[in-house]
Symmetry: C2
């Protein structure tokens, strides 16, 4: 007797196939030759194989990751569903595997300011096009006075000042500009004066001539927002006239060669010439990014007329070559948390030499301008909701509060989540494994790579995903040790001890080395997530607040936009709360820098945020060490704090 077949018609591709009952829809789809992703390999865990059953009856083995509303609409997981009758099934568009590279994504994803503000009325730098009558014996005013006179007449600019580098080229530029005049006659000198309109700290300071160019360039005023992370640096190119975000790019901070976290950098800075070397390295990284942006957008980097920088307190000290020694030693005193504006030429930055570089104010030794920038761009400073803001980078900084009050702390996570300090770690760029699913029976991984290319390594979100899978599947135990009793060539003793092979050498880009996660890597990841979770615990405890009271959790930081919250909860990096309370914000540091660069009101707001924020020094807090120790397990010693993870674990291991 032939088995009863059910005819399955697939939409929108209008393919159909007949299959026996008990055949999974996912298999039917595969047989029908429709392109379809099964990231978790058909374990019913990832929820990515959702289809809509439009007609017919089905049997669902599992409906995890399908909301009640979706259930009513006919959604089903293809890997967990069999037909009970003929079916008409709609296959939603599959997520494109080719993902845009981060820089392009960022450009696409920061179209406008994250906070509503009046950025247009009073930009920090303005350009003025002026036509100037050349001098004569009867009108032999000096070049500078002549320019001043016309700026006053034509644009009502008073009390103009200028520094040497611009004055040094004034005479030539004015006379060169005559050639750009009206070819029909002597049109006079025609130049664009680029003026800094008061300083960030003193709006009433006289306008300062920071550059002068022959011809009319007043249509656009380039500036850049920079995030100096301990591990990664981001540079965004913006236009102060349109308020438009033009482009951005990122790279590892070249200082990594001198130490992976802020403490090792501070120790390096104490060496003879060490501080100067670190300063040059970060400036070199930023300059390379500036040149990349300039080339890609066909602009002259010398036309960038303002820079706003967000970074942690140590990074800002190193960027400015300020002595960071006492940030490391009790009572942890920085030289400044409200750095005064400096000129680009003082730092060796390849933008307009006279451009002001403005480092956003921070709160203390371990809560810097990157966090105040984050609070700014998250709009947390305006909300009534009790909000938790987490910036996960090399350090994990946490801010709790709302429009009325803010309290913060910092915990050293290390660079593992940024792909550094981990054997096969890399930044989230082309070739990085960013998501991993492990088959619970075979322990074989399925991974997704940024850029649709063979893998080169694993980025932070990939590691969180991988570690969570390893833990849930049982490849790693709660203390992070690999289960070597499992029958799989993926678990082995490598050169650096026990390790799990995510991709064999032959699958990789260079075909030379397996991509692995070692027990040492796991230990680093657990320490990193433990530090952050411990900070989180201490902060809420210190203000007498319970986790449940937090109405919104905002996730910033370099890879905040890419981490999988579910996975992050599974490893105990984030607290086990309903998913809808979490909100991804992406790189809030650079977003805040962008906001403060564009709008003076917002720049002032950063100062208010910094002033308002209480800083809890964890190094001086015994509770932190206790909480940290408790958090050095997957997901945590206190399993009652992670009910959803325990449920999943029981189900997964029980299966």
């Amino acid at each position: 007797m032939l088995p009863a077949l059910n005819k399955i018609v697939f939409r929108p591709e209008a393919k159909s196939i007949e299959i026996p009952k008990d055949t999974l829809l996912s298999e039917a789809i595969a047989q029908a030759g429709v392109r379809f992703n099964l990231p978790c390999g058909g374990q019913g865990r990832c929820g990515r194989c959702k289809v809509v059953v439009e007609q017919g009856e089905i049997k669902r083995r599992s409906s995890s990751r399908i909301s009640p509303v979706e259930l009513e609409q006919g959604y089903a997981l293809a890997c967990q569903t069999t037909p009970l009758s003929d079916l008409q099934v709609f296959i939603p568009p599959q997520e494109a595997i080719v993902r845009k590279l981060p820089s392009e994504k960022a450009a696409a994803e920061i179209p406008t300011l994250p906070v509503e503000c009046d950025w247009q009325s009073n930009p920090i730098v303005r350009k003025f096009f002026v036509t100037i009558e050349p001098p004569s014996l009867s009108d032999n005013t000096t070049d500078f006075e002549r320019l001043k006179r016309e700026l006053a007449r034509q644009h009502n600019i008073k009390d103009l000042v200028a520094n040497l580098p611009v004055l040094r080229k004034l005479a030539r530029t004015l006379r060169e500009s005559e050639r750009s005049g009206d070819p029909c006659g002597r049109a006079g000198w025609q130049v664009t004066a680029i003026l800094e309109m008061g300083t960030w700290v003193d709006e009433d300071a006289p306008p300062r001539l920071i550059d002068l160019r022959p011809g009319d360039h007043s249509g656009r005023t380039l500036a850049c927002a920079v995030d100096i992370g301990t591990t990664s640096n981001v540079v965004c190119l913006v236009d102060l006239v349109s308020g438009r975000f033009i482009d951005s790019t990122l790279a590892y901070n070249a200082q990594i060669s001198c130490g992976e976290d802020v403490i090792s950098r501070i120790l390096y800075a104490r060496k003879e010439g060490g501080l100067q070397h670190l300063q040059r390295l970060v400036v070199q990284t930023i300059n390379e990014l500036l040149h990349e942006l300039a080339e890609r957008n066909q602009v002259d980097p010398g036309e960038i007329y303002a820079m706003t920088v967000a970074g942690n307190t140590t990074m800002i000290h190193l960027f400015l070559a300020l002595d960071p020694s006492f940030i490391r030693l009790e009572p942890y005193i920085p030289t400044v948390t409200y750095p005064l504006p400096v000129r680009a030429s003082e730092l060796g930055l390849h933008i307009c030499p006279e451009a002001t570089v403005d480092c956003l104010p921070g709160v203390g030794a371990y809560v810097g301008g990157d966090i105040t920038a984050g609070v700014l761009s998250s709009s947390m400073f305006k909300t009534d909701k009790l909000t938790l803001f987490i910036d996960v980078g090399t350090n994990g900084e946490i801010v709790l509060g709302n429009a009325d009050w803010l309290i913060s702390c910092a915990c050293s996570a290390g660079p593992a989540f940024e792909g550094a300090g981990v054997r096969s770690g890399m930044r989230a760029t082309a070739g990085a494994i960013e998501e991993v699913w492990i088959n619970a029976d075979t322990y074989e991984p399925t991974y997704r790579v940024i850029g649709d290319v063979p893998p080169r390594g694993i980025c932070g979100s990939g590691m969180i995903s991988l570690l969570a899978e390893m833990f849930i599947i049982g490849v790693a135990d709660k203390s992070g040790r690999l289960n070597r009793a499992l029958h799989t060539p993926r678990i082995r003793i490598g050169e650096h001890g026990p390790e799990y092979v995510v991709a064999w050498a032959k699958e990789t880009q260079n075909q030379k080395e397996d991509i692995v996660l070692t027990e040492v890597d796991i230990s680093n990841l657990i320490r990193a997530k433990g530090a952050i979770y411990a900070g989180f615990s201490v902060l809420t405890t210190s203000v007498g607040i319970d986790l449940a009271d937090v109405e919104e959790v905002l996730i910033g930081g370099a890879f905040g936009k890419y981490i999988d919250i579910e996975k992050a909860i599974q490893i105990g990096l984030l607290p086990d709360m309903p998913w809808e309370r979490f909100k991804y914000l992406g790189n809030t540091s650079v977003l805040g820098a962008f906001t403060a660069l564009l709008c003076r009101d917002m720049r002032r707001e950063v100062v208010e945020i910094a002033k308002k924020m209480t800083y809890l020094e964890l190094s001086a807090d015994n509770r932190f060490m206790e909480q940290f120790t408790s958090a050095l397990f997957l997901p945590h010693t206190d399993t009652t704090a992670f009910p959803s993870v325990m449920r999943l674990l029981n189900k997964s291991r029980g299966s």
Copy 2:
């Protein structure tokens, strides 16, 4: 028959001698073995051999240079007087030939400000001694905020700002300062904050921390006033607390190697790297002078916290490395005449890197801050008298006016009067011949050397003196040609054409080369004096004023204090006016810089002077060329303008 002898008793040395009548007193003095100077060799012209005949009768051949009052008191010229009876003669103390070197002289001669003003109430830089409680976990304000807090509490300083170089050493300096605390206990951090109290252009600018030193250094605040001449540079060390002039020194501007006058410097600046080279040279000269002053006064040059500079417009452009090209070309446009304050580190000056360097404002391309400084220090801007101010340096600048109006012009004199561009020329320092008398019969010179050492060369005042003598005695004619018909080995054809030997090689310091004045040198000197006199003529003519109307002639400039007015009139450098109308002011440029450095009111006054002063461009004035041509004779084509010189000449040549 024995000749009748007269006994001459000399006081105060109580020597006596018997001499025949008709023996000159000067011979009697020599025979008696009393030390006595006869600078003009006994021609009755220099007036330096004055004695007082206390008892007895005498016969005077000449009493030139003896006033009627002196005549009544018995004064007589020893070289022009014979006894008619026994005499008692008082020989006044002889002028010490050992003259202090210029730097020491200057120190002695500028004890206080040349202008009355309230310099004490509001100095540009102030020092504040503060004691600061070191930080703790419970008071972990940043270093900079902590310093600000105490400066506000203890000294009412608000809104302090600071630049990177000071912030970079802040952490270390504060902690080092703890060791300078009270040894009996933890006295806290004790430091001296050095603050610039607003800027020269904006008094209300926030106070700026320019240095920080451990311990208490508030007793004295060093600063320096600088005169950048085309040929000579002067640096004066002053104390802003006491208003005291401490010391000064001078040297040739090292730029001389690239050209002797402003035009040749401007041409040099157009070469590849030329401007930067010139900038480094003048800074090098100033740095050397700073180090000399620092060593001599046992201070650290880094403790000099402000610098005010006066110089002509080209010199200021070269000092700041501003493009001077268009100063040379019609319509003669500088980049600035009101230079904005710059920081010492921007120029490479070896004072406190954050110290402000303030270049005083000028009027135009050829009347610079040295002249406004001169008008300031001369008090000309406050007088009702019609005053003529002349600054004789490489350029000759002339200002005419009073408290109500000022008009100025400039004429390129060349560096001859500063000892440069003349074969045996040198600066007025040890070894320079500064005064010469020539015997009308033998044509043998008598000279006076600065420092009582063998001569090395001739300085400006020496050249004026020498040229005047040569002309009056007839060694040179009115066009400056040497009279080779005279029987003297002093006049000869040298390597460089006809020349007059002032000192034979054996008399000189290096014993190698004769000190000479060549016809070429004379021609240079005549052109120099001619340019100045022509400027003077054009200026008075242009405002319809007659020479006789000028009530006071103020002589400034590098050697203004040392030139002999009589000699200067004889060669036609100065107009032939009653001597009492002339007033020597010395280096008015550096005096003005000193004044403006010490007192903000006076600094503002310089701006008012610069604004008020009309500038007459001689390059565009045909009258100048005419006048210059007429002035290329000794003393001038128009001999009626020099009646006193003509009288002397007739007398001298007639004798």
